[in-house]
């Protein structure tokens, strides 16, 4: 409990003070701040394009979208769990080990590619389910539970690959990483499909409402007749499935699975949704924001490389930009009272 004597959130008075600001401005401010991540994104694209016009070429923008695909799906996987007020540090490691198991099934057991990919997805989904069961049934704290799971999965991946990189994946497995439709790569289609499905699920389904309610106030959701544990298990399980999909796409795109596959994605997969307005306390956030966060991080990543920032500085500058983005978001939440 806080030791501060907090100001009474005198709602009636604050309501009055708000109501007096011209409605249209308030609306514009709210909407503008709500999509502040998109304003950022456009600004950075313009700056990078000025610094190097190649940035704005079709082929480079396609590259940005391809690069954003894996991060985007991992960001969705993380968001599903963040929305119910939990966190899952094992999404990236899950993507790595599940795809490796699928690939090994193809290489060592002679399974067809699609079966291998399906095995990967099944393993990832199962890992998500285990996370969900641990957090709800055993009441483990998700931060630590998923940290343990992450280390186990990373170690497991190292063990089954014996430190080697899995290569020589069949063409049928890697097809999707290179395929194009009418000159457009297929990977981003997966990204957009993933976001579209998530958007419909969150906005238009009972499950989506239940996820928000569970994260918004789990006690109320329970009393209101939502089976909160069940919803959390579904969130973790779906998250595992989406992480598995990201893992498969990463393997297919890279045409290889390293012994630390996916690891570098974890922190960005957490940062992207938060930059996009998903609350770490649950109950808040939407698909458009998450997509904006994912694209913003990818643009920073690709843009810094394209304007020839020496590689020693790329990570630092990227970090500073992320830091600023999160600070702006914090200001947004304070400014509009977290609406």
């Amino acid at each position: 409990m806080s030791a501060n004597i907090e100001p009474n959130t005198g709602t009636a008075d604050s309501l009055r003070s708000n109501a007096s600001v011209p409605k249209i401005w308030r609306y514009a401010l709210q909407k503008g701040l709500q999509y502040v991540v998109w304003i950022w994104l456009v600004g950075l694209i313009i700056i990078f394009s000025i610094l190097n016009p190649f940035f704005f070429s079709t082929s480079n923008l396609q590259n940005v979208l391809v690069q954003a695909t894996v991060l985007g799906l991992l960001g969705l996987a993380q968001s599903l769990v963040l929305l119910v007020g939990e966190i899952d540090l094992s999404v990236a490691a899950n993507a790595g080990i599940s795809s490796a198991l699928g690939a090994l099934a193809i290489q060592h057991l002679g399974m067809p590619s699609f079966v291998g990919a399906a095995i990967g997805l099944a393993v990832a989904t199962l890992i998500g389910l285990v996370n969900g069961l641990c957090v709800t049934r055993l009441r483990m704290v998700s931060l630590i539970e998923s940290l343990g799971m992450m280390i186990m999965l990373q170690g497991g991946l190292l063990a089954i690959t014996q430190g080697n990189t899995i290569t020589d994946l069949p063409n049928a497995y890697t097809w999707i990483g290179k395929a194009t439709l009418d000159g457009w790569p297929v990977m981003p289609i997966m990204l957009l499909a993933g976001f579209a499905a998530m958007g419909v699920m969150l906005q238009r389904t009972v499950l989506g409402r239940s996820l928000y309610a569970t994260g918004g106030n789990a006690a109320t959701a329970f009393v209101a007749g939502i089976r909160v544990h069940q919803i959390k298990i579904i969130a973790f399980t779906l998250s595992g499935f989406v992480a598995g999909l990201a893992g498969y796409l990463l393997g297919a795109w890279q045409m290889a699975i390293t012994s630390d596959q996916g690891e570098g994605f974890l922190l960005y997969a957490i940062a992207a949704p938060i930059i996009g307005g998903v609350s770490v306390f649950g109950g808040r956030g939407g698909t458009l924001g998450i997509l904006g966060g994912v694209l913003l991080l990818t643009v920073i990543h690709v843009g810094l490389a394209i304007i020839y920032v020496p590689s020693f500085y790329v990570t630092m500058i990227g970090g500073i930009l992320i830091f600023i983005a999160v600070a702006v978001d914090a200001i947004r939440v304070n400014a509009i009272g977290g609406l």
């Binding site: 409990m1 806080s2 030791a3 501060n4 004597i5 907090e6 100001p7 009474n8 959130t9 005198g10 709602t11 009636a12 008075d13 604050s14 309501l15 009055r16 003070s17 708000n18 109501a19 007096s20 600001v21 238009r204 389904t205 009972v206 499950l207 409402r209 239940s210 928000y212 309610a213 918004g216 106030n217 006690a219 109320t220 959701a221 329970f222 009393v223 209101a224 007749g225 939502i226 089976r227 109950g283 808040r284 009272g337 977290g338 609406l339």
Partner: protein
């Protein structure tokens, strides 16, 4: 540390110089375009308990914020001991001895009572806290308060936590203590203890500004009262001795408050199938049989822990108990969770809205349909048109005051939040409604509105259980009162033939065993 005459320092009577401790002169507070306070002038005399009343939005909280230094007035002056305040700043006001104690007691559970008492200002020796001195000082200061300086604050009761907050303010040099609804979530006995404590401090010269929604409390504890209505001070410092509850309501509302009284004798024919609760055991409950007919409003009365609250919660699946429910042709086990209860047509209103009644960060719309998502969807997909019609129906039926159903619930007043909560229950089409403290923390005006809504529901054939500690209210709004003692229903009488004193006497005096029968015999009622 010798105490002169052995009287604890806190409770030594002092003679106070007459005159106002606090005075506001023509205080105006303007927010862009809206005037929240329109020239408020009133005075609080030293060593008195001064009540501050007003509906939500009347300007009470703005005035309190200004007095506590959280906001500066647009115009006008605040005087303390006749000297105008120049800096509006919480620390500066605390320096003058003005302390605001909010509804949520701010106590650090992990620390001891003494550590909380001197929070942040512990006696030190170098970088270390001088524990011995701290406990010596605290022991001396807390004498006669009933608080153990070495006890962990985490184990304190609700009333002791409030006392501790007041004491902390006093220990920091507080002279004017502003109490913002300090009795929320306190039991009747706790309330009495808190009031005794306040009276003893008052005798020592401490001044209180007391904010409450409850007329009875104002009448019981305050010396004088000021009333705000729409930013205007309509009554300033009137002596309470000449007032009654009705007069207070009239002053607050600006019109006579028409108290709702349920018309009795309108109960439906007895052949209608009743809700029957059988053989409930567990969590201290021992209930063999309770019957409630559709259209009936039944009040559950009893002291905390007597089983009144617990039975209400258990019937909704919030407490693990065994037992069966029979309704019409169906017989089923007591629900094990709220989702099951809702499927059986049982709905429950929580006594703590913010904890588990509403989701404040979500919209009114989402809150209203939260318990009836399956009825506004097909195969898991929401049907926006259906959802809209449900939301609009209850938004209008309960007259929720908001710009639109898309507004976040956090921005609503307590009364309107309660209406949103009720809407959520009603949207499920319940056949049995369990209302736990349905009028807690809401305006007098909205209270009566809630009672009328519940009455209308009962007339449409819903069976209603009301659990409340407000007996006056219970007696005029229910048909029948069931009194609980030690987990058992011990009396069952028509509300029309009962008085508050009778209930209280029996609740306190009845012990299980031989005395149980006494109430039943005296009451002439059949055993429940």
């Amino acid at each position: 540390m010798g105490m002169p005459g052995g009287v604890p320092i806190l409770f030594r009577e002092v003679s106070v110089a007459p005159g106002p401790l606090l005075e506001t002169r023509n205080v105006i507070k303007r927010f862009t375009g809206v005037i929240a306070l329109k020239g408020v002038s009133f005075a609080v005399e030293t060593g008195t308990i001064h009540g501050l009343l007003g509906e939500n939005g009347a300007g009470k909280s703005t005035l309190v914020k200004i007095i506590a230094g959280m906001q500066a007035p647009t115009e006008g002056e605040i005087l303390l001991d006749g000297t105008p305040v120049v800096a509006f700043d919480v620390k500066a006001m605390e320096g003058h001895g003005v302390f605001l104690v909010t509804q949520e007691p701010a106590v650090v559970n992990e620390l001891s009572v003494a550590e909380n008492l001197m929070l942040g200002r512990w006696p030190r020796r170098g970088v270390w806290v001088d524990s011995r001195r701290m406990y010596d000082l605290a022991t001396q200061f807390l004498e006669g308060t009933g608080l153990d300086p070495r006890a962990s604050a985490g184990v304190l009761s609700a009333v002791d936590r409030r006392k501790l907050n007041i004491l902390r303010a006093l220990h920091s040099g507080g002279r004017l203590i502003i109490l913002d609804e300090p009795t929320t979530a306190l039991t009747t006995a706790d309330r009495r203890a808190l009031f005794d404590f306040m009276r003893r401090l008052k005798a020592n010269g401490v001044t209180f500004l007391f904010i409450s929604h409850y007329n009875e409390e104002i009448l019981e504890i305050c010396d004088s009262v000021s009333v705000l209505r729409d930013g205007v001070l309509v009554v300033g410092g009137q002596a309470v001795s000449a007032l009654d509850s009705e007069a207070l309501s009239t002053m607050v509302l600006g019109r006579g408050l028409e108290l709702f009284h349920r018309a009795r004798g309108a109960a439906p024919a007895p052949e209608e199938p009743a809700w029957r609760f059988l053989d409930i055991r567990g969590r201290g409950l021992v209930i063999d049989r309770l019957d409630i007919r559709p259209g009936e409003i039944v009040g559950f009365a009893g002291l905390p822990g007597s089983g009144a609250q617990e039975t209400g919660r258990a019937l909704y699946g919030l407490l693990p108990v065994s037992g069966t429910i029979a309704f019409g042709t169906q017989t089923f086990r007591i629900p094990t969770d709220p989702a099951t209860a809702l499927k059986r047509g049982i709905a429950y209103l929580s006594d703590d809205r913010l904890k588990d009644g509403i989701i404040t960060i979500e919209s009114i719309r989402n809150n209203i349909v939260l318990s009836s998502l399956s009825s506004v969807s097909v195969a898991g997909f929401l049907r926006p048109a259906r959802e809209r019609s449900v939301v609009e129906r209850f938004f209008e039926m309960l007259a929720i005051k908001a710009r639109s159903p898309d507004q976040a619930v956090a921005a609503l007043s307590g009364g309107n939040q309660q209406k949103v909560c009720l809407s959520r229950l009603l949207a499920t089409g319940p056949k049995l409604l369990i209302l736990n403290e349905p009028t807690r923390g809401i305006d007098v005006g909205v209270k009566e509105e809630v009672h009328r809504i519940v009455d209308r529901l009962a007339r449409s054939g819903v069976a209603v259980i009301i659990v409340t500690s407000d007996l006056d209210e219970m007696l005029r709004t229910v048909d029948r009162v069931i009194l609980f003692v030690d987990g058992r229903p011990v009396g069952d009488r028509a509300a029309a033939s009962l008085t508050k004193d009778e209930i209280l006497r029996e609740a306190f005096s009845t012990r299980p065993g031989h005395t149980v029968r006494k109430f039943e015999l005296e009451a002439g009622a059949k055993p429940a």
